[in-house]
Point group: C2
Chain length 466, copies 2
């Protein structure tokens, strides 16, 4: 870092990229190769993504064998495909053998079938079998994100032997810092960290210092569960066992970050009435976006038929008291927003493990009190606003005290209904095994639209005798 002293990381980073582009444009391939070799794989992958598609595969081929696989794992599917299509079978074979099996499986799931076929053909039989086995784990299961490259120790080894083993086999492992102690039949017996090994004497036996109280998950568990355990217990790696308790893989902390981002994105999408997409927005075409969005819009549009029916049945009354029409959107909007607040708060609280189905009464009681506070404040402001602004300032003499009272009362009741329904529906969804995110804003708004209208028009019938 010497020559860049005092410069922030971003400036250094941009400068590095400019330098690399300069070398490429000047065709100084040897110098470019040396610079790329010094860089970390994430930056090299980022640089490759910025190079035009003609020159990109050529730049990739400058990388050394070891670096190539690391960089390859950091690329997105389209770039991976471009490279696969421009290298020889033996180059491709070498990369596949060097990839961690979870990265290879991720890639296979994204690539077109003909490319997958070629990749599988170039892999050794052993790798092919491993990849095929991993591809069989259900999507979003712990098995689908685990990797097979871990350090296994035996409990009769001493610290010196354990460290010697790590030094020997550690090079290709995804993490060496958590080591797994297994029996002769591959059953998981304990874990020991490199920290434990280093902080003990050479002669100490692994069996004496290993932790037998192992946090683990099984291949068929949801990936979110695996992520939660790593996060709760602050683990570097979580062992994954099959149904017989045999250690088959590990999930590492960097996978968790990806899982968490993916799950949060899915929640955002479902809560905005979209089918989750597994590609980022920038790589999804208009037609695919349409397919993810239109079924929900159709469903919600057709659900609004109830609201239409309610309005139609009050048609004649509204024709006489037309002033009431103008406040329909105020009441509906306030109801929708109130419900959205509650449902979002609860959905998030459920997904963070803060609220459970058993809390339903406590939550509804809290939202009930919040809804009275919110409803009364909003109604009071609305009452004053209607009489001061609508009646006095804008001289709309149809806005009488009774009309203002009708709208304000409807606001109180609508907010109370929306908040109680908005908070309880996600919990009920969780209880019956649905994703709580499904009963988010759009659905709550559709329900609260119809109910708020009924409330409003019934109050109007009582007070104004429409």
């Amino acid at each position: 870092m010497g020559e860049n002293e005092g410069m922030d990381f971003e400036t250094m980073h941009d400068r590095q990229f400019e330098e690399l582009s300069g070398l490429l444009d000047a065709q100084r391939m040897k110098a470019l190769q040396n610079r790329l070799e010094e860089m970390n794989e994430f930056d090299v992958a980022e640089f490759l993504t910025e190079v035009d598609t003609q020159r990109m595969p050529m730049v990739f081929r400058l990388l050394s064998k070891g670096k190539a696989a690391e960089v390859f794992a950091n690329l997105e599917a389209p770039e991976q495909e471009l490279i696969i299509n421009s290298i020889t079978d033996s180059e491709l074979g070498a990369i596949i053998e060097d990839l961690y099996v979870d990265d290879a499986v991720d890639m296979m799931e994204e690539l077109p079938a003909n490319v997958v076929k070629r990749v599988m053909r170039t892999a050794t039989r052993e790798t092919r079998n491993l990849i095929n086995q991993y591809l069989k784990y259900p999507e979003n299961s712990a098995g689908s994100i685990m990797t097979a490259e871990f350090v296994d120790l035996k409990k009769y080894m001493n610290v010196r032997e354990a460290i010697a083993r790590i030094r020997r086999i550690g090079e290709d492992k995804e993490t060496i810092y958590t080591c797994f102690v297994t029996s002769a039949d591959r059953k998981l017996e304990g874990v020991v960290s490199v920290k434990d090994l280093l902080l003990n004497d050479d002669e100490t036996v692994v069996g004496d210092i290993m932790d037998t109280n192992v946090v683990f998950c099984m291949t068929q568990d949801d990936q979110e569960e695996a992520a939660e355990k790593i996060s709760d217990y602050d683990l570097m790696a979580l062992p994954v066992t099959d149904r017989e308790g045999r250690l088959v893989g590990i999930v590492t902390v960097d996978d968790v970050i990806d899982v968490m981002e993916k799950e949060a994105t899915e929640d955002f999408e479902i809560m905005a009435a979209m089918t989750p997409s597994d590609k980022p927005y920038s790589r999804t075409g208009a037609f695919d976006i349409w397919k993810n969005r239109v079924p929900w819009l159709l469903f919600l549009m057709l659900s609004a038929t109830f609201t239409t029916m309610i309005l139609n049945s009050f048609e004649e009354a509204l024709a006489v008291q037309t002033v009431l029409i103008g406040f329909v959107p105020v009441i509906m909007g306030t109801g929708g927003n109130s419900g959205a607040q509650s449902s979002t708060a609860i959905i998030r609280s459920i997904s963070l493990g803060d609220t459970e189905p058993a809390d339903v009464l406590r939550v509804v009681w809290k939202e009930w009190r919040v809804s009275i506070l919110c409803g009364v404040s909003l109604a009071a402001v609305n009452f004053v606003k209607m009489l001061l602004v609508d009646r006095l300032l804008m001289n709309n003499l149809d806005v009488t005290v009774t009309v203002a009272l009708t709208v304000s009362l409807a606001i109180v009741l609508t907010v109370m209904f929306a908040k109680v329904v908005g908070s309880s529906l996600p919990i009920l969804a969780e209880k019956i095994g649905l994703d709580p995110a499904v009963v988010a804003t759009p659905l709550i708004t559709t329900i609260s639209d119809a109910v708020s209208l009924l409330i409003y028009l019934e109050i109007a019938r009582l007070l104004i005798h429409v």
Copy 2:
């Protein structure tokens, strides 16, 4: 794990808790103490949270000195306060000295002032100064989440000396796996992993194997930036420097998971028109929830005045063609949902670094095409539905072909407007330095409500001459 073979983790976990409760109820304190000592700190903290408040501090005092601080760091503020109020100054002092400074600072930020005072009084002068220094870093900065407990090496050390140093000072460090190489004046010169050390000969010099291409951040950087770097570069720990390039702390990968969860929660809250809360839902009182929600509801309610004004200005026309009133919620709802889809997709894409302000034209062009696809499909279904269901099935003869055409045309234009505005506003917000999440569903819906109504009523004026 021997005796629990084949059992899943959750069953073992529940059984363990039942056993602990049994020991506590039977007052078998010695046995309870032994069991707690074997458990990991997260589970002990979870167990303490489940014990009633009378007995909880007593159970906590069963823990050994080293375990106590670890468990303490895993507790929430209310439990921490309960414990602080029931232990002696010297016990408290010992815990504070054992805490990592980032955990101590987290705690200070949550505890009431009088408790903080007592904690500070029991700490040594050195710890007190360190905590005070950390408390000065702005909220949500990298400085506020970093910790001071890292392993520093010198570049002239060889591998044997480096490992000896790790063995000597590693016990109290938050991570030993990434070591930081600093100059005599504490400037960061490189990083070296324990993996690198273990995979090299004892005589190799640290300066020869360290990576000088260090990814780092500065104390005043946003914590989200630090989290992104750890996630992008798959780091265990990110070094944090001051403005002079001196290494002052590290951010570890487990902090990143917390930051990511917190930031996602904040986005959810802002997008549902709530002021973000720093306490989980279950620990926030009704009055605080009201304070976070009501200002936004008020703002949105008052913004709906525009919609009221538009409806009022068409009052007489609507009194004649009352059939049109019933479809107002269909058009508004469809507009709101369409806009919500686009704004949510873009806000999430921005926060994942997938979309940048420079992409605005590309995004609007894509949403334009999606909106035509969605608008036309919805309008077609609506047209058929109005004539088949509303007119034929429900015998509402006011629903003419012209009326159905009016509503359907309004749907197409509303969806197009909502999607283009919903996608471009978050990008513009990002461009001018606002949080894109602010222009989410509630605001977009309020805008699209007013505009969709104008579109609808203007089309009605043209086609039906209302």
